[in-house]
């Protein structure tokens, strides 16, 4: 039993497994970019035998990033990280806590010839020079003196050895944050027509609606364009209400979402709502114009009492001939329905005789009145994406931790040096030893630099 357990333990504490898992995740990610995923996979179904498609679908190949395979890899990676860190952290912690001692015989064993030299200066003077140099280069150093010898030690980058654990911890927190989003996160869409309010959203990848704890009303939607015609800004003015009392209102722009009670609203699309308004001008015998603005379904009485006019439809681009409204007049002499085009003059120019052929297109068919469409007041709907992801702050914290940890690991390094000064007959011997777990080349040049500095200072004091 214990043997089995220790075998499992060593399996999970190996870095080979980590390399394998990271490669596997990369491999799965590649597959996911080559095979159409989610909605895009539907198209594949037609080109594949139903049996194969069914099988691949069951294997979650078409939703790899949310599949059991990916979850399994995340799980194994987490276990690997935890066990690997448990295995190594105590050592690193001990090394971190260990205070250096200036007297260390070991480091001076097998010291290369060039790391030591003899000088004629006297020992206390040399010791002062070394102390000054270490003060400048390392800030903290320790010193002991003993019967004609001086011992020094100094170090840099003590925290760098903990960087790896910070990086790995941040990966664990990241996975936790992603999982929280996976389980508790919601994503949906909703369209709101200007002036109207909604209180539920349609969830993505399901047929369900998610009720919101408040109402959302779109007061106005505006879109601005650059001169060339490319869109410049989309903006929805939203009001959030509870029990018909506004609790918040604000402008929603792309890149500036609104967050309320854990729900985040994003500007994602827009469109023209069917219920725009039409502005009409009505002339009787070509005189006395009367202006009125109406929505579909609305109506009014003709000034002379000849009948009642009703707007049946409003079209932004009727048969590619521009904006038009369909009107019905219930008159005492009978009913008539016809279209009023905004650009009727242009249409008649291009198609001579059209009004005679198609009486439905004659804006003066109900005599003695003549109808002119002077403008359309468009009404938009705004398309919002709504998400709720309680894992986001966790992921954000992990990202900050990851960057800090990486800086520690990759840009700093632990480095220790020992210097000893010994009286040898009438001369003084100075020796420098160094130790670094990484960046041996940097240590080498640091030691050479220290040697050169000490020699230089000794020269000057002569």
């Amino acid at each position: 039993m214990t043997k089995n357990k220790s075998r499992l333990w060593s399996f999970f504490s190996s870095v080979e497994l980590a390399i394998l898992l990271l490669s596997l995740i990369a491999f799965f990610a590649v597959i996911g970019t080559l095979v159409p995923q989610r909605e895009a996979a539907v198209e594949l179904a037609g080109r594949m035998s139903p049996g194969l498609f069914f099988f691949l679908n069951k294997m979650q190949i078409f939703d790899l990033y949310h599949s059991i395979w990916f979850l399994l890899l995340m799980f194994l990676l987490s276990v690997n990280l935890v066990i690997c860190s448990l295995e190594r952290f105590p050592m690193a912690w001990r090394r971190f806590r260990l205070r250096l001692s200036p007297q260390n015989e070991d480091v001076f064993k097998n010291l290369p010839e060039e790391n030591s030299f003899l000088t004629t200066a006297d020992a206390p003077q040399a010791a002062n020079i070394v102390a000054g140099l270490l003060e400048r280069k390392f800030r903290h150093f320790k010193r002991t003196d003993e019967s004609g010898s001086s011992f020094f030690c100094a170090e840099k980058g003590r925290f760098s050895s903990l960087g790896v654990y910070i990086v790995h911890l941040s990966i664990l927190i990241l996975i936790a944050g992603v999982m929280i989003g996976f389980v508790f996160g919601r994503e949906g869409y909703v369209n709101i027509v200007e002036g109207e309010a909604i209180n539920a959203i349609a969830l993505r990848n399901s047929n369900q609606m998610l009720p919101l704890p408040f109402d959302v009303r779109c007061d106005k939607f505006t879109v601005e364009f650059y001169k060339g015609g490319a869109p410049k800004t989309y903006q929805s003015n939203l009001t959030f209400l509870r029990n018909n009392q506004p609790i918040f209102s604000g402008k929603l722009l792309v890149n500036h979402p609104i967050e309320l009670e854990g729900f985040r609203f994003y500007q994602s699309s827009y469109g023209a709502a069917p219920e725009g308004k039409a502005s009409l001008s009505i002339l009787k015998n070509g005189k006395k114009p009367m202006a009125i603005t109406l929505s579909p379904g609305e109506g009014f009485d003709l000034p002379g009492g000849e009948g009642q006019v009703k707007v049946l439809r409003i079209e932004e681009n009727m048969m590619k001939m521009g904006p038009a409204v369909k009107l019905a007049v219930n008159g005492s002499k009978g009913d008539v329905a016809f279209w009023v085009f905004q650009q009727i003059d242009k249409i008649r120019q291009m198609n001579p005789g059209i009004i005679e052929q198609v009486p439905m297109f004659n804006p003066g068919i109900f005599r003695p009145y003549h109808f002119v469409l002077t403008g359309m007041e468009e009404k938009y709907y705004t398309g919002l994406q709504v998400t709720r992801d309680p894992g986001t702050p966790v992921v954000a914290a992990a990202a900050v931790l990851l960057i800090c940890g990486l800086m520690l690991v990759l840009f700093s390094y632990a480095r220790q040096v020992w210097i000893r000064i010994d009286q040898e007959k009438d001369k003084v011997r100075i020796r420098i030893a160094g130790r670094s777990y990484k960046n041996k080349a940097g240590l080498e040049s640091e030691v050479q630099y220290l040697l050169a500095e000490i020699k230089d200072s000794l020269e000057k004091t002569k």
């Binding site: 870095v15 080979e16 980590a18 390399i19 990271l22 490669s23 995740i25 990369a26 990610a29 590649v30 996911g32 970019t33 995923q37 895009a40 990033y65 992603v178 994503e187 650059y226 060339g228 490319a230 869109p231 410049k232 800004t233 989309y234 722009l253 792309v254 890149n255 500036h256 979402p257 985040r264 994003y266 500007q267 994602s268 994406q385 709504v386 998400t387 992801d389 986001t392 992921v395 990202a399 990851l402 960057i403 990486l406 800086m407 990759l410 840009f411 990484k438 080349a441």
Partner: protein
Amino acid sequence: MINTAILSWVTFIFFAAFVFYLFRMILGREFWGKLATWTALAGLAAQSVALIIRWKTSYDLNMGHVPLSNFYESLIFFSWTIVLLYLLMERQLKNRSIGVFVMPVAFLIMAYASIAPGMNNRIEPLIPALQSNWLTSHVLTCFMGYAAFTVAFALGIMFFVRHAAGADSAKASVFIRLLPSEYLMDELMYSSVALGFIFLSLGIVTGSVWAHYAWGSYWGWDPKETWSLITWLTYAVMLHARGVRGWRGRRMAIMAIAGFGCVLFTYLGVNLLPSLHSYMT
């Protein structure tokens, strides 16, 4: 426009710098090396001026934005960071041999930006989703990372050139003798990848923040996002293989070249797949 005219000149200047670095390597005279460095520096200065003019012009045209918004601008910035990083490295190391491998990459990118068919080099207004400071930091950090990975790639190629010439340095040509030692190249490859890894991590994080504000979710498995993750994982494997398994030299060179392949695919290849990052359309 004046900025694109300058930028086409920069292409030639980078090519000249490459030729001078090559002369140095073949003739073994440091004169050519100095000339190459100054030429590259002049190219970098001209390129910076062109970018600043472009930036200012976009404000004059009333759609002010940092020149990092379309494929053309990103190519220019990519080569700018490569040359900048290389010149800093050259100064630090006092070794000019890497230039002959790095400059052609910078030159090819500029050449591609200048002559590729259908390349749109106009200054264009930003659609609402791209109007974000996070996006600017995202592009900036990503390309810093890419530049560092490009240097690592150049070192990987150098490693193989030296390796193929064999260890017998007495008989080797000037070219081979001027290359840094295999040990030094390995160290430099590691440093470049470490630098690139941090910048790529920052790039992914800032990109996620942008996505969080613009698209409603910090991660959407868009092909470009996914490929940047693949690239990141590849370099993470490389760092582990080196730090823990002790891989050095040839294997690191292979990883540096493979990693750069991922970078290129993230940058260019992904545009063959549908994506939000529609630089190429």
